[in-house]
């Protein structure tokens, strides 16, 4: 008797999500369903065109099932896994609410393959009896009008966001079970025990260079030449290291130097700057907002990161307004606050 296939629903079929779906389908241990919002009709009919360094050139590629909404996907079935690969913009739409129709309490394992820090918290709060996994993806893959171009191999580190309702062994076993479904001879999907360490390590770059470049609209090379790297980003990095330490995470002694030099030789535009230039809302809350929440809980002072966060709130306001997510009245509302 063959083992029943696991049922997986993937939400978010951008450059990253589509390749994750390919990986699951290629392994063929799960039934792969995806939710496609904007391109549903096209994808339903013709599938995707995928040019992948991992899986070659695929035309009319389709997973097992394609649904236009999460509600439709959840009709009459339960999922073993819900994999979320959307951008994480809780100030626009909360991913734990988006996924809700497809999550069966006590059954569905949630997998967040997304950027950001402390992403598990709202899921564990809302779904205390579900395991929540973490995937940190290193991939170069973009969706250009329905054509997926994957130029860099899919490397993903999988772990779990610790939920005190489960013991660690169970959560680790579940992470490894998901890896079994997703890893194959084309990609590089491995278990990485310390998700907190890893996500702090990423913040040393993302909370300090990604943010400052997004705010000032210069690449990391110009940031250095202007003196802003040393005056703002480096002190911000020291604050990240301090929060990590207070949170029990010891980053390598040379982490700041390594991070600064990671772009050496390139006039590199970090992803948040690219988003600002394209007019897309930025992942401000999951990169800086969540970090400041933890810093506040641990009573660690983060003056530089705090100012960066509040400045970027104005940038984000404008980006959301540009996308029609915020509307301001023609006449400016009265501000009746008295300031001292």
């Amino acid at each position: 008797m063959t083992k029943a296939k696991a049922s997986v629903l993937l939400i978010g079929t951008g450059g990253v999500g589509t390749i994750v779906a390919c990986g699951l389908a290629y392994k063929n241990l799960s039934t792969v369903s995806v939710v496609v919002r904007s391109d549903y009709e096209k994808v339903k009919n013709d599938g995707w065109t995928i040019n992948s360094v991992d899986y070659g050139n695929l035309t009319n590629w389709k997973p097992d099932n394609i649904y236009p909404t999460v509600e439709d996907a959840a009709k009459g079935q339960e999922f073993d896994y819900v994999v979320i690969t959307t951008k994480n913009l809780p100030d626009v739409i909360k991913p734990e609410d988006v996924a809700e129709p497809a999550i069966t309490p006590g059954k569905t394992t949630i997998v967040l393959i997304q950027n950001g820090f402390d992403l598990g918290r709202p899921f564990i709060a809302k779904y205390p009896n579900n395991i929540c996994l973490s995937g940190v993806s290193h991939i170069g893959s973009h969706n250009h009008g329905g054509v997926i171009n994957q130029t860099q191999g899919d490397k993903c580190l999988v772990s779990y966001f610790d939920n005190s309702n489960f013991d660690k062994t169970t959560q680790e076993a579940k992470a490894k079970e998901f890896i079994e479904l997703y890893s194959n001879d084309k990609n590089d999907v491995t278990y990485f025990a310390d998700v907190k360490w890893y996500r702090y390590r990423k913040l040393v770059y993302n909370a300090t260079l990604n943010t400052v470049c997004a705010l000032t609209r210069v690449d990391t090379g110009r940031l250095h030449l202007a003196g802003t790297l040393e005056a703002v980003s480096i002190p911000a990095m020291r604050e990240v290291v301090k929060v990590a330490k207070a949170d029990g995470v010891e980053l390598p002694a040379d982490v700041i130097n390594t991070v600064v030099h990671s772009d050496d030789g390139d006039w590199f535009k970090p992803s948040m700057l690219v988003d600002v230039e394209k007019g897309n809302p930025i992942e401000l809350e999951v990169i800086l907002g969540n970090l400041l929440t933890v810093a506040n809980e641990l009573k660690v002072e983060t003056p530089t990161l705090t100012i960066l966060y509040h400045l970027l709130k104005a940038t984000q306001f404008k980006l959301k307004e540009g996308k029609g997510l915020i509307k301001v009245p023609e006449e400016r509302p009265i501000n009746d606050v008295v300031y001292n």
Copy 2:
């Protein structure tokens, strides 16, 4: 015997400078020479077209003399006054150097009708035996391709930047002598004793709202709605008040409230934001840089203003690069600093 006319050279014939020249010429107590850089041939031949709320519609308007450079203006003559009405961008070109050929040590009075703080310092350092006057202009006037549109009356507060080589009476008398040349029945040019007080008062807006809007690219209304006004600009205002106090200047108790509410009802874009949107370098050094120099001398901590300054240095870098004032090599230079 009629009194000899004073000789005045005005440098900077934008919207403000041209109307100042009109005011001096209208009063007719001085010989008015101007330096016109980019439009010299056109202005030399045809003069200006000026639509002025103060002086009416003038065509082919010319002052007494028009020169293409300061050097040309200074050939064979000395000036009683050199009035500088350019934008003040010492990180691009130092106004005290631009004016140098026309300044006779011990004779020429320098008049700075410019935005910014502590503008007299580099002049007094370079020309210790010359009096340096301050003009704070409140005017709506713009140069649109050689046509001057003055939509708001010329109101100017004149005082002096205190130079310890002169007694105050002498400096005050010189300021009033200049007012005599410039004030007329059309404009509103008056003596205002406390230049330091006044320029600090302006900084409460310019160092905090002008700067933050320039950085985040939102107007003061959206800055309020995004929460950034309260989180960043208000603390920055408190820092300006603190520096002023340490410098012996007591601003009104309600100054912050007054400044915040000065834009009430308008989605107002401060001038520095307008400059950024137009791609023009910003008056960062004379608004924030000079303030931080004084704060540092007085040992007043200004964490918010300091971060804003260093972030805007990156913005300024990009603006200067856009104007060809900075060039970066195609290949990013090696950064061999080790960061800890």
